[in-house]
């Protein structure tokens, strides 16, 4: 079957089997490998894209359902070299580690902040509970959402990474350490 739709502001037309999933079409037919596949039960959210502005799990949408739709993938979030405010916030707040859940997570955050510029805790939970992350414990992600919301509202400029990270409370000295070898020049 032929299906024609728009992806990241570009018109595309592809030939697919009826059973082909949208995520397969995006990754394999259109070469947009940023969107990931992490499960078979619509649970993990790694495949999240925007479909006519709504975050959807593209593993549970058939490619043919995208006829005439506007699809945005992670590749469409920041055309060009620089990062969008949401992506910048994720970077500064260490909202990603292995990065596999990240494209899907970013799409959900983009959608959230578009409809709700000042989300409270419950709104954030509801928007993101369909995106599983196994690395971050979600602390960096929550910080990133708040930071991105601030940026998008035009408030404070990008903040130095790690401002939430505390200094150690106590430092204990343990003697001096001999590294041996023939290079004795003191290190600055």
């Amino acid at each position: 079957m032929r299906v024609r739709f728009r992806v990241n502001d570009r018109s595309v037309e592809i030939e697919v089997e009826a059973r082909r999933l949208l995520v397969q079409a995006l990754r394999e037919d259109l070469g947009l490998t940023g969107t990931k596949v992490g499960c078979e039960t619509t649970t993990c959210g790694s495949c999240t894209v925007l479909f006519d502005g709504e975050p959807v799990k593209s593993c549970t949408v058939l490619a043919v359902q995208a006829q005439d739709a506007e699809v945005t993938t992670i590749e469409g979030v920041s055309p060009g070299a620089s990062l969008s405010p949401v992506q910048e916030a994720f970077k500064r707040e260490h909202g990603l580690q292995c990065g596999f859940c990240t494209p899907g997570m970013v799409m959900s955050v983009v959608a959230l902040l578009e409809r709700c510029p000042s989300p409270d805790e419950e709104a954030i939970k509801e928007a993101l509970e369909g995106n599983i992350c196994r690395c971050t414990g979600y602390v960096g992600i929550r910080r990133a959402v708040r930071h991105a919301a601030g940026l998008l509202r035009g408030e404070s400029p990008p903040i130095e990474a790690g401002r939430n990270v505390e200094e150690p409370l106590a430092r204990h000295a343990v003697g001096s350490i001999d590294i041996g070898g023939d290079d004795d020049i003191e290190v600055v």
Partner: protein
């Protein structure tokens, strides 16, 4: 740059979707697909068809690959081969494989395979496997007990000890649940093979494949792209890797295996799975006198990895405490389930759970405050290095400080104040000691004529931010901006040797190797500049890409020195770090149990962790956050479950729930810094600390909350899911 919480250079590619994981590689997208037929039974005789090939599809049978075994790599129960042969020993074990032009064709072909299975009785639970007439996983072993680690046993161990508690603790089997399932693409090229694989230790895999296939090292290249999480389970040698390499060589085309989530939750190695019988004795004043443990560890159908994990459990039995006498009897038990492996912590969280739960139970017995009991028994700072009597010596620790801060931050005195009849509050502590891997690691640091530095490292990140962190170390020594440093890892054709990333080894071993190599390069540059500027090397400072004579503005660009050299200014280092080091800390939390629904809220969570000196605190904190949520989830939500026939009941993410943001409490992380004396920067590992402290902290809080109802381990064990809590409340009510 040392100690700076820099954001990560890795992030741009990951955030924009341009970074490539295994199935994003072009070679993966165009490869043939290997699909695996797995035994549906936990124990079965297998009869396979004789013929191997149909048009467009290729069947892989044991007879094709009878020569591909790895018994010689590991001692213990044979055989080790990619396919089960005529006897399957766990549900999910590969019995045959099919190669198709794409996933759909390969999977369709699997369904048409005519394979006969004759189900046999299976030993699924530890109790089944240990019973006298248990079905044996390997008949030739004569028993399902394949690992035995025992100290001497003194029947009078507890004689004259005023208070002794006896408890049984259970650590359920867990799935690592990394977001990216396993995948591999084998690409043949005229007698050589390149293996693209999401892996923690490419040099290990290279060695294994050379050994199995009879290759020379330069015939096998292992290349690791971005890895979407591993947690210990992307280190083993899996049968699918061997099958793909064989198939690629046989067919002369790239062959890919991409695990489905249902396969991932079944056969990507689970962790934990111990039953622990514990006796802990103390004097009347609460001073610990003796500990005896008997542990049965579920190995699944192979001992290969778990036997290392249980050694680590034994080594860490002492926890943070001075325990004069410790005895143990640890048995590794085979069951008709998939082989158990190393999962973040790999045996140490189990030991921490054991001792931290026992301390709380002892405190209850003595009517002593659990915090006070801990403080009384902490190993004092002046006793380090401390020999625990379990085969290990701790390097450094300041356990009391971490505890005191955690107690204050959690509001320990008033933590239970809001407890009501329907919403029971409990507070839980865990003062853990972790062990981070010893060994050695390789690095090469080279300043090139472009002014860039190329770092080769034998470690290999799967989310831990090594590129940024190692760049900070190099920038610190060479006085260059971090963005002039490029870190290369994960390619056996470029990096000559390495130990990969696991066991919290990377900063201590890999980072130190990078640090020392960078110092050597810096010293070379100082000597070269000194000669050129007619100064003493000790008077040369490296800053902003130049070498200056201290106190003057006389200097020379580093790039010029490289040009003079006619080659990059480079140094190699193998840092033999030797012994393990011991991160530690205290986690404290408050939980609230709704007695009507069994639901548990984590009301507050505080942790004070100490991993010595820290190169990038932002990265370190991320490791703690992630590990802590895993540990919380292990207590509250997760467990691998099988039915009586050995069928996996938790085979997808709805039955094996990974916590979402809704289940993630806000965790407050604080640090102390007690350097390790055994490496030059004073580093300790941190990757596995969070998960180690969190599970017993939550468990202690839950049992504390339920203590008024008389609920203990005999009534309720992990995971504390609402249905299990609700049932325990009703049944003891």
């Amino acid at each position: 740059m040392f100690g700076r919480p820099l954001s990560r250079s890795e992030d741009a590619g990951l955030l924009s979707g341009s970074a490539r994981f295994l199935d994003d590689l072009e070679v993966a997208q165009n490869a043939l697909h290997l699909a695996v037929l797995r035994s549906p039974f936990a124990h079965a005789r297998v009869e396979l068809p004789e013929s191997a090939s149909e048009a467009g599809r290729r069947l892989v049978l044991p007879s094709d690959i009878a020569h591909l075994t790895w018994d010689h790599l590991l001692p213990g129960p044979p055989p080790r081969a990619p396919l089960a042969g005529d006897l399957a020993r766990y549900a999910g074990q590969p019995v045959a494989a099919v190669i198709g032009k794409d996933a759909a064709q390969a999977m369709d072909a699997l369904e048409h395979l005519e394979v006969d299975f004759e189900a046999l009785p299976a030993a699924v639970e530890l109790t089944d496997a240990l019973s006298p007439d248990a079905p044996l996983v390997y008949e030739e072993m004569g028993s399902n007990i394949v690992w035995h680690d025992a100290s001497s046993a003194d029947p009078g161990l507890f004689d004259g000890v005023d208070h002794v508690i006896t408890r049984t603790f259970r650590n359920p089997r867990l799935a690592p649940g990394m977001l990216e399932c396993r995948g591999v693409v084998a690409v043949p090229d005229r007698g050589r093979i390149t293996v693209h694989v999401g892996h923690q230790n490419p040099h290990k895999l290279q060695g294994e494949l050379c050994s199995i296939f009879g290759f020379e090292a330069d015939q096998v290249r292992v290349k690791v792209p971005e890895v979407g999480g591993a947690f210990g389970a992307k280190a083993p040698l899996y049968p699918e890797y061997v099958l793909c390499v064989w198939a690629a060589l046989e067919l002369g085309q790239p062959v890919k295996y991409l695990e489905r989530r249902s396969e991932n939750l079944a056969v990507t190695t689970h962790g934990r799975g111990q039953v622990q019988r514990v006796r802990l004795g103390a004097a009347a004043d609460g001073t610990l006198r003796a500990l005896r443990v008997e542990i049965d560890a579920d190995f699944g159908a192979a001992a290969d990895i778990q036997r290392w994990c249980v050694v680590l459990t034994r080594r860490m039995l002492s926890g943070a405490y001075r325990i004069p006498r410790i005895e143990w009897l640890i048995r590794g038990v085979l069951t008709h389930t998939p082989p158990v492996g190393a999962f973040r912590g790999a045996g140490r969280p189990e030991a921490t759970y054991l001792i931290e739960r026992a301390m709380d139970e002892l405190a209850r017995e003595l009517s002593t405050d659990p915090a006070e009991l801990r403080r009384r028994n902490f190993i004092p700072q002046e006793e380090f290095p401390y020999d625990t009597g379990t085969g290990i010596a701790y390097d450094s620790g300041a356990y009391g400080t971490a505890l005191d801060v955690a107690l204050k931050q959690i509001g320990y005195e008033k933590a239970r104040d809001s407890s009501s009849g329907d919403a029971l509050r409990g507070v839980g502590l865990a003062s853990y000691v972790e062990m981070s891997a010893g060994g050695e690691e390789y690095a090469d640091v080279a300043l090139e004529s472009s002014g860039d530095v190329v770092v080769l490292t034998g470690t290999l990140p799967h989310g831990q931010g090594h590129d940024t962190t190692w760049s900070q170390l190099v920038a610190e020594q060479l006085g260059l901006p971090v963005d002039r440093v490029r870190v290369v890892h994960g390619d056996t054709a470029i990096v000559p040797r390495g130990g990969g990333t696991s066991g919290s080894r990377s900063a201590v071993l890999g980072g130190t190797a990078v640090h020392l190599a960078a110092i050597r390069v810096a010293n070379q540059l100082r000597r070269m500049a000194a000669e050129r500027l007619e100064a003493a090397p000790g008077d040369i400072r490296l800053q902003d890409g130049c070498a200056f004579v201290v106190g003057t503005d006389i200097g020379v660009d580093l790039v010029e020195l490289v040009e003079d050299n006619g080659a990059p200014v480079a140094a190699e280092e193998v840092f033999a770090g030797g012994a393990q080091n011991f991160p530690f800390g205290t986690h404290a939390c408050v939980v609230e149990v709704d007695v009507n629904t069994g639901e548990i809220q984590v009301v507050d969570y505080v942790e004070v962790d100490d991993c010595g000196r820290v190169i990038n605190p932002l990265v370190v904190e991320g490791q703690l956050h992630g590990g802590t949520l895993q540990g919380i989830s292990h207590a509250l939500f997760e467990a691998v479950r099988f039915d009586q026939a050995g069928q996996l009941l938790t085979g997808n993410l709805t039955t094996y729930p990974l916590p979402s943001i809704r289940h993630a409490p806000e965790v407050r992380c604080m640090r102390t810094e007690t350097p390790s004396p055994i490496n030059p920067m004073g580093l300790k590992g941190v990757g596995e600390s969070g998960v180690t402290g969190a599970t017993p902290a939550i468990a202690n809080a839950v049992y504390d909350a339920l203590a008024p109802l008389g609920i203990g381990e005999e009534d309720l064990t992990m995971p504390f899911t609402p249905d299990r809590v609700w049932t325990a409340i009703r049944e003891t009510g």
